[in-house]
Amino acid sequence: MSQIINSALQYVDEMLEGLVAANRSLVRLGEAGRVVGLSTPGDRARVGIVSGGGSGHLPLFTGYVGSGLLDACAIGNVFEGPNVQSCMEAIRVADRGRGVLCLYGNYGGDRMNFDMASELAEAEGIETSTVLGIDDVASASFDEHSRRRGVAGIIYAYKTAGALAALGASLADVTEMARRTVERTKTIGFALSPCRLPGAAVASFELAEGEIGMGMGIHGEPGIWQDRVKPADDLADEMLDRLMAEALGDFRRVTVLVNSLGATPLEELFILYRRLARRLSDHGVEIVLPLVGRYTTSMEMAGASVSLCFLDEDIEPHLLAPASCPFWTVP
C-alpha cells in the first residue's frame, strides 16, 4: 500500500505538527521540536515522568502525555531512539522539582541517549531514575527477562506510575511502582504483514501472504515460529498460554490489552478478545479495564499483540485512577 507523505525527511516533524495541532492539550518543545509536553502542566511540585522512543508507533509514545500519565516525551526518527538533546529537554520539561522517572522501552539507542541525558540532568541538579519496559516474552527467555524488548505493555507502567506521581509520591515510590508494574506485565505479539520505513522502496522484512510470524517484534524482529496463519482461537490460546506461564504465583485479577499493530482491524481484535475473555473466565480470572484497539503500532504493519498485567493490591487502584491523554481516558 502507498504512504501518504510529503517527504521521508520531514515525516516525523510534519506528523508532530499535526499531532499537536489536533490535540491542544499537547505542545511541541525543545530546540528541534522533538519533545512533546503538556500545554498546561500545572505547577504543583511532584515527580515527573518522561518516556520516548522512535517514531512510527503512534499513539506510543507521545499520545500518552496527559494528566495521570506522562509529563513529556522525547521523539526520535522512525525506529530510532530520540537523541540525547531531546531526552535532556524532555527531562527538563517533566521536572517539577521532585525528580524525574525515565520510563521507556529496552532498546539500545534509547537507553544510551536517556543514560547520557540523565547524567546531564543530574549535573543540573535534577534527580532521575530509570525503568525499562521489558514485557515482550518472545524476545528472550524468562531467565534473561531483563534483555527483553519493551512493547505495548509499557502503557500500564505509564498508568500506575502516573497515578502515583499525581498523588505526590516520592521518586523512589513512583519508580518502584513502575518497576513492579513492568515486572507483572507480559506481552506477546504476531505480525501478518510488514511495514515500510517512510520513503523506502521495500518493506523492512518479508512475510509471505497467508503467513504469520508469532512472537515478532514491533519493528519486525523475528519471532518464535512462522507458519500459515491459524484460526483466531488457536492463536488466542497459544498466546494466553505463553503469558500465563509467566505469572508470578497465584492470580485472580488481570488487565488485558489486545492491541493492533496498525492494519489489523478492530473486528479481528474483538474476535481474539472474545476467546481470551472466555478462557480467563474459565480459569476463574477476572478481567479489569480491558483495552481493545490500537495502543502501540508499527505504522501500517498488520498483526496484533496481547498484554496481560497480573494485578495486585498496589497496582489495581492506580490502574483504575482517573487519567486522560489524547488516546486513552480512564474516567
Binding site: 530510532e80 531512539g81 537523541n83 540525547v84 531526552c87 539507542g109 544510551m112 523492512s204 524482529e221
Partner: protein, 213 residues
C-alpha cells in the same frame, strides 16, 4: 594515509556520504534480518548531516570533530548513530587543540574511539558489533606501513566481517537471537567494511605525491 588535517577529514566525510547513500538498502536489509531494518537509512541521513557541517573555519581538529559529533547527535538517536557520536566526541578529545594529527597517531585515535563506544554501549569486544571491526582495523594499522593504508583498513574490516560472520551476536537487537545470528553479517560491521572499502578505492586522504608513488 597521510597526516590528518581538516582537509582530509572533509574528503573522508564526503566519500562516506556517497558510500552510505549507495549502500542504504543493503544495510537496511542486513538490519532487517534481526533488527528494525533502519541501519542504512540512518547512516545515509547521518553521513549527509555530517557532510553539511562547514569545517573550514574550525580552529583545530578537536573542535572539528566536536562539530561533527553535534551534527551526528542532532540527526539520530539510534544505537549506531549514538555510538558514532560517542566516537566523534572521543576523537575530538584525543585531537583537542591540534591542527594536524600524525599518521602514526591514527591507530591510537581509533582505539580511543572504540574504547569510548564500548563504555557507552555496554558491549565487550567479541560481541559482534561495529566495535569489533574498528578494533581490528586499529590493530592492523599499527603494524602496517603508513602509506596507502586505507587498503590495510579495508582488508582488516573485511577480515573482521568474515571472522565474525559465524559467531553469534551478543548485544543490541540481534543479540537477543544468539546462535540464530550465526552465518549473518552484523549490519554495523558491514557498514564499517563498506566505508573502509570506499575510502580505499577513492584514495581519500592520500596526497597527490603519494598516489603517484
Amino acid at each position: 594515509m597521510t597526516d590528518v588535517t581538516i582537509r582530509e577529514i572533509s574528503a573522508i566525510v564526503e566519500r562516506a556520504r556517497l558510500a552510505f547513500d549507495a549502500a542504504e538498502s543493503d544495510l537496511n536489509a542486513a538490519d532487517g534480518r534481526f533488527g528494525d531494518g533502519d541501519t542504512g537509512t540512518m547512516l545515509n541521513r547521518l553521513a549527509s548531516a555530517i557532510a553539511l557541517v562547514d569545517l573550514k573555519a574550525e580552529p583545530d581538529l578537536g573542535s572539528a570533530f566536536r562539530k561533527m559529533a553535534a551534527a551526528a547527535s542532532r540527526s539520530t538517536g539510534s544505537s549506531l548513530g549514538t555510538l558514532v557520536m560517542t566516537a566523534l566526541l572521543a576523537v575530538s578529545k584525543y585531537a583537542a587543540g591540534q591542527s594536524t594529527l600524525s599518521r602514526q597517531a591514527i591507530p591510537e585515535m581509533i582505539e580511543a574511539a572504540a574504547t569510548a563506544m564500548l563504555a557507552r554501549g555496554g558491549a565487550s569486544l567479541g560481541d559482534k558489533t561495529i566495535v569489533d571491526s574498528i578494533a581490528t582495523v586499529a590493530g592492523e594499522l599499527k603494524t602496517a606501513p603508513a602509506v596507502a593504508s586505507w587498503e590495510v583498513a579495508s582488508a582488516a574490516s573485511r577480515k573482521a566481517l568474515d571472522s565474525f560472520r559465524d559467531r553469534p551476536s551478543r548485544i543490541g537487537r540481534a543479540g537477543r537471537y544468539g546462535n540464530k545470528t550465526i552465518g549473518f553479517d552484523d549490519p554495523g560491521m558491514l557498514a564499517f567494511a563498506i566505508l573502509c572499502g570506499a575510502l580505499a578505492r577513492s584514495n581519500v586522504g592520500l596526497r597527490p605525491e603519494e598516489v603517484s608513488e
